[in-house]
Amino acid sequence: MTDDLLDLLMDLLRLPGISGHEGLVAARLQESWAPLVDELHVDLLGNLVATRNGVTPGPRPTMLITAHMDSVGFIVRGILDGFVQVSQVGRFDDRLLPGQSVTVHGARPIPGLIVAPARAGLPEKIGGGVVPTKYLLVDLGLPAGEIQRVVKVGDSLSFDNPPRFLADDVICGHSLDNRASLAALEVCLKALAGIELKWDLVMAATVQEETTAYGAQSAGHTTGPAAAIVVDVTYGRAYAEPENESFPLGGGPTNAWSAEVHPGVYREIEAAAERAGVALTREILPSDTGTEARGILIGGAGIPLGVLSIPLRYMHNPVEVVMLSDIRQTGLLLAEVVAGLDDEFLRRLALD
């Protein structure tokens, strides 16, 4: 059953969808989620909001689960002699960019290559150092005149490397941050199919996390949840990450312990993991979680929330790496939390 997540995930990893341009991702999700929920719409900012109604009569509390749809990318800053100049949307290490293939979303999608000019064509102050994005160019292999016609300042660019498997259960691609989490949300919805819920469940696939996290803020505001869980990715352990800040692939999701996280929600997630037999690791994030949690937290009278993260190697590289089992485990854990929501839940969260 949960193997279906691959259809969705592989499709999502082939889509563009940088911050502010998430429409295609929302459309693909809508297709998958429509049969699994009672109501579904795209809000004014572009968040996809999907609702499964609970069965309890009367006003029901809402559990909001969010994952952002947008990914890091570029925007056209200028055109220089038929070459495209770009700015980053989100954050990248400049050292990843030369030689990277991209799609420019101009009058039509145009393949291109990010390149560093020879040192002789760069300002002297760069010397033998790293070439900043500002001086990188995108070569579309088209005549300068045509580029003037089909590309304009403000067009977006996305990585275009297709998803590939490194091993049976290990997938590599761009934008696994945070499309791995969107796939986990789908695993959750499927696991809940046919199960009566006491609460209403709202799944929000949000926009613009990588730039401002305003998407989640608006989703939190309009859906008025009693509690929320944010699903994102965290640092997967590879060869260069400090051990105390990274988590092994295949070890299941992390449960953030942070000022942003409500201790009651944290405990409920822990208890659900225990019931569902999902391995869960505590991730210590002393002040904030670096996710869109902040925007939700400060909505309304304050929203108690938790943050679940899927370990992902090489965050904000075009070759992010995730283990599928971690996605499945995260989805099943979310389903267990939702299935366990009852009248007592909010009382258990009360702080003295």
């Binding site: 954050r91 290490d93 393949p111 760069l122 300002p123 590939r164 790496v321």
Partner: protein
Amino acid sequence: MPSSEPNATRITEGQIRLLRSLTETTGVSGGEGAVRRLVRAEVETHVDDLWTDALGNLLAVRRGRGRGRLKVMLAAHMDEVGFMITEADTDGFLAFEAVGRIDRDGIAGKSLWIGDDRHLGVIGIKPIHLTDERERSRRLTIDSLRIDIGADGREAALERVRPGDRASFATEFRRMRGTLFGKALDDRLGVASLIELLRHVPDSVDLMAAFTVQEEIGQIGARVAAQALDPDLAVVLDCTPARDLPVWDGSENRTYNARLGAGPAIYAADKATVSDPRLFALFTETAARMGRPYQIRQPGGGKTDAAAIHLANGGVPCISISVPARYLHGPAGMARIADWRGSVSLVHQVLSSIRPAMLKRH
């Protein structure tokens, strides 16, 4: 076998497909076998003799007819710059080294094909969130990078990949109308040109084709190929960097080496070889007469197989003709079909018109 003009008006779809297969094959210096097998299948029905020598060069002779034929060697190297796996660490990540002068700024964030079974690996780097500006201001060195093949530990890694395996960028070939993107255009473009020329050799010459090995690590194959073939003259078919990008402040780019779209690049001299002046005159005059674009590659740096060939035996008059291409020695280069076509028809025209008297001393 009829002597015919290679299709001079366009590069055929078949040639593009062949170039795609050639560029998507891995042939890092010293491991050219897969490329050689491809080339052999393409040329075996068009030549009189075909053999692989002790170093792995694929050599072919196509004899002409009539008297006073020149023995003309055409060389194109089969190898590409790439990587070799040196170790699998306890966590299953692979250390590696460069083979040839790889563009080290183009490595991070790329995918590789490793070994004969072409296992996929990726070179990711630490997330930007875990680095500081100081760290990010330093260029990456190969010894700080590892390849991830999704293996859970050393033993799992060694089941798929072994130290000594070679790796290339996992770049799929792409065509955008008149522009080609791909890895190893240097020198699979030359290899594809040589295959095309072998199919259309004029009868007035004996053509000796050398698909050489290990050019990128010192023109090793070309040396012995020339010694064995003992030609009267040699033409090297290679790729040369087009560094023709705009300068950041709008000033003129005077160190472009070669320009994309300006036609085949004829060498006057590079770091290792002064082109034979008679051949230089013959090629430039022929190109001018043909009325097609050509360019003189800016003399200066760089080397081709000519570096070794012109010193072979008693010395061989030699020249290099390159297809200009951008971003060589990185994950994806870019070339124009028109420049490729121009180089094939120029060399064919010279082969058709060259006579022994042209090599007499002035």
